[in-house]
Symmetry: D3
Subunit: 134 residues, 6 copies
């Protein structure tokens, strides 16, 4: 089903083993999900994707983890990414998103998509009041 063949024993490669160890330590869990098992076929890419994900999503910052995962999932839904939608909605739930919050999230995402289509059809000029540059 995938376009890359995951290595059968990924941690035999020390670069992969180091990334997997950091994933486990960062998350406090032994589970390493498929995206990393497939990216292990290309250790350089694996290192770069994990470094970015860790810096952006797994490092304490201004926004709370749950909110960050919801923003990430919103983009993934709009980009029709099956794997990402599943993994980041699961991550948002793991970081505290309740069922009621997920329902509200779905409502916002759906309403935004509706209005995006409407305004990509009508194409009104952007109000000057919205421009950051003024």
């Amino acid at each position: 089903m995938a376009t890359l063949r995951p290595p059968p024993d990924p941690e035999a490669d020390p670069r992969v083993a180091a990334v997997f160890a950091d994933i486990r330590a960062t998350r406090g869990s032994d589970f390493v999900n498929n995206v990393w098992r497939y990216l292990a076929a290309e250790p350089g890419l694996l290192e770069s994707v994990w470094a970015e994900l860790k810096a952006v999503m797994a490092t304490p910052s201004l926004l709370e983890p749950k909110v960050k995962e919801m923003i990430y999932a919103a983009v993934s839904i709009a980009n029709a990414c099956d794997y990402c939608t599943h993994s980041h909605l699961a991550a948002a739930r793991a970081r505290g998103m309740t069922a009621a919050e997920q329902a509200e999230f779905l409502r916002i995402v759906a309403t935004a998509a509706r209005t995006n289509a409407l305004l990509n059809a009508i194409r009104p000029p952007v109000d000057r009041a919205f421009l950051a540059e003024e």
Copy 2:
């Protein structure tokens, strides 16, 4: 620039006048932005879009208003909606998103889009651990 002609005197139509009055009261501001001025060409559509926006975005709910606008903006960026991106980033700023939070938001949106492309290319199977149904 638009595909609909906005009526020159929209509030001459009582249905439009009622929606504009509700927009002003809900927002506590006299400003009515272009999306409503163009939708005024079709009062039934105007009523339905405003009713949904008001219910989903302008009514107190579980998520804070700033977060709701950030989720909305994330979808709008992924859908390449110029007007929506401007208006909902402006709305997020108006609801308290700081410049530093906006930078963090941009980083999440960009990282999500990068990984979406990567996983839409690699297409690994979704891990069973992520499935809500199990």
Copy 3:
């Protein structure tokens, strides 16, 4: 604003002149819009795009011309194509789409986009009853 430079005197090229003449004859109008004036920079591409557009959109077929333009415009809106959205909504109006029909069209496009986002988020299995193969 464009990434191709339109030739200043496109009809000096006989291949371009032949396509422009066919556009005018097919449409019964002297007006040749910008897409053809820019594609004139690459006569082979111009010929191929016009041949396809003429065969699919300007030749009598099962669906009425107005409906064909609405389907075309729906795709263009979803793909955030500014030029195409303007030109095919204008074409639909020229082929008889009334303002009330355009409002209904907008409503369908917006509702579809809303539900698309919702189902790209929820990802329920496709019902067996919908499958053409069974």
Copy 4:
């Protein structure tokens, strides 16, 4: 496979039961397809999505039902929504779209996507003749 768990006995909830009854009555069929069975996990969202679908798609209006489903399917294809593409092409067939019309529909959708890409690459200015505002 889904990100929401459908309730095992959805009609035990009276709000869900009322929506399902209205779906059956509106369609004159006992079959309730998966989108509603999964949305039943969130009765408020279920009510709002059904109300919109019923108003826009299942209420007699200016455009014929078959055409409305084709416009809906066109958007769904462009948004890569698997479930929506299946369900709305099936709905168009149920409302009278013949195999030959479906082939013509596919041709229009494909041609639109081709030209959308081309014009999103070339980005010519929109002709003044197309602007609704002038």
Copy 5:
């Protein structure tokens, strides 16, 4: 799983048989993949899609075949087309793309998607230096 039913004996139709024969001759292989077996349900569409694919992708031209398939796959990934992503990455590999080149390809596609999102969010003006028209 498909929305079209593939004919059980496609080559009974002489138009389909002619296209299949040309596919086999052009590729020097007996294998005819599913896209053609499903399009066989609509011989006119089959002929038109194959004619375009053959002219654009299977005819010697300025760009090398491997590069053409990589450009094609890049578009397919961005459009979330599952079938196209698989078939054109396989075609690129068949035309000489190595595993290391595929890893580099993935990196470019991912970086482009990241920056696309960022610039669809920030929306800076296009530099005059980039405009082909000047």
Copy 6:
């Protein structure tokens, strides 16, 4: 027109000055285009985006620079990113893409988009022969 305000004197910030100096040295040109001038509002994001662009696009690698820019531009067109389409087509031209190659590129991008739409509509199963895992 942008959603970020570019700093009036960006190089007053030493982190921005260092990135701009590296952009100029890497490209052998004094010109710093708008994406960097706007990102200068957020020096951390500027550093991260430039580091990735430099590593992926401006460092000698297996694929030739012209081909890398064409792959990048293909993704940008599919994502409807106005700025990126202009800047990466300009970069491809600067790295040797001729007008005839650009015409061929446009043809491939357009054909891919057409077939993507068709296969996102038909949704045939992926042939086992294409799967990397087997």
